[in-house]
Amino acid sequence: MNLGFILLILLYYLQRSMGPIEVSQEWKRIIKGGMAVAGILLTIAKLGIGYISPLAGMLNFILGGIIVYVTIRNPELQHRKGMIYAWLPIMAIMVLETITEMISSSLYNSLEIYFESAGGFAILWAIVMWINNTKQRKALEKEKQKALEKEKEYKITEALKTQLEKQVAERTTELTKQKNELVKALDELKAAQTQLIHAEKMASLGELTAGIAHEIQNPLNFVNNFSDVSTELIEEAKEELASGNQEEAIEILSDLKSNLEKIMVHGKRADSIVKGMLLHSRSSTGQKEPTDINELADEYLRLSYHGLRAKDKSFNADFKIETDDSLEKINVVPGDVGRVLLNLINNGFYAADEKKRELNQKGVNDFLPSVIVKTHATNSGVKITVRDNGKGIPTSIQNKIFQPFFTTKPTGKGTGLGLSMSYDIITKGHNGRLEVKSKPDEFTEFEIFIPKNES
């Protein structure tokens, strides 16, 4: 065995990677330089040239020492320590043999047997170390494998992450699109709602028209007839005066005065009806004003009755208003509250009339539909009740009646918006309450509470 060979082998392995451990490029260069030197020295030593070859052998010793020293001391080459230790005894024995031979051949000869057995042990040692190192290397390689797998896993995870991010982005775009569509749909629904509310107002105005016509007809009838009769009375007064009946003439004149007052009263009545109609058709400006609730309730009760009466000639019902005269004016939007009253009263007449029809079919003919409106001044404001003696509302649907589009009327007869609009007007518009009490087959009573001091 030649030391030069050993050095070449050591250097070759030093620059190779071991498991996951890589030697830096700088060290690789240095080690490769070392290999070149070792190669040259080996060649020179083999050539066996006079003094030069033994010198190369000596330099090999020095190179070996440097390799051993550098490998053991340098942290970057620590992983090859095992290899160095494996070869170290063999190298040491070679050095010792060579030095002993140089000093004296006789001494070498007498010690040769020891060198041989030491060499044997050294080889044994190297083998054990080699096995040991191999194990270590394999463990390291396993680690490298694991690391590689981990890296692979990491790459897969990364890929998944990228894919997920892409999917999330796609989903986000989709959701944004859906959201925009929903916002658009909501806007459309809001527009439709506004239209429906308008339609509901117009429908109730249509119901009102006939009632209004009738209600205007009555005062106009008086205005015409009272002015007509007044003309006649003037003629009569003239006649009486001519025939000297002064007392008679004075009586006629006082009649004339009260006639003119009546004309005024009925003119104003027609005026207020027209104003009420305008108020009803106008979209709510939300303007609250001090309102005589008694007058408002009376007006709408009549409008409702005559409206229904005009639409359906067979319709007949009793209606009554009981007002609390201590009631002061309350700040409300008159058109809105009027609409609520009209709606509740219309419903009342409708329910009572339905009951009448049902009873008529059973042969009972003495039922008289009735709607009673009452006002009552309370500490906090006003309570208005609208009570009918109709079919009543089943307990099961009492909590649904204020929902938009809920209706028990046949298709086409009701929009299902009347009560929900009424509810909004009272609760949202006037900070009040709208409640219902009912006993099936006996009565339904709606109670409106509107607080005062609401500006």
Partner: protein, 127 residues
């Protein structure tokens, strides 16, 4: 001769009293008023036999309406004549009234010329 006017509008009384001022003053005509169908039947039932010979009734009144009153009067007092006065001058009401035995059908606003003519005819016949 006594006639009864039925209308839920109270001012009707004043109007009729002035319109028939001369007739009432001269004692040829007596006017009675009722403000609902129920009240009208009470008035008619309070006298035996009722002095009222003619009833003018509004159709559209709360409670018992004019057409129901007409039927009731025709049942209880067949000899009393009844004419209707209505703001709803539609065929349906007219036919119903005529079927039930109404004499005339006046529409609002009341044309007192024709109404007076009807009353005068009555007075002439009565006297």
């Amino acid at each position: 001769m006594k006639i009864l006017i039925v209308d839920d509008e109270k001012d009707v009384e004043m109007l009729f009293r002035q319109k028939f001022r001369k007739e009432v003053k001269s004692g040829m005509l007596e006017l009675a008023f009722a403000f609902s169908g129920e009240e009208a039947l009470q008035v008619l039932g309070s006298e035996h036999p009722p002095k009222v010979v003619y009833v003018f009734s509004d159709i559209n009144m709360p409670g018992m309406n004019g057409l129901e009153l007409l039927e009731n009067i025709k049942q209880q007092f067949p000899h009393i004549q009844v004419s209707m006065i209505s703001a709803y001058g539609d065929l349906q009401n007219y036919e119903k009234a005529m079927e039930s035995g109404a004499k005339e059908f006046f529409t609002k606003p009341i044309d007192f010329t024709t109404l007076k003519a009807e009353v005068n005819k009555l007075i002439e016949r009565h006297n």
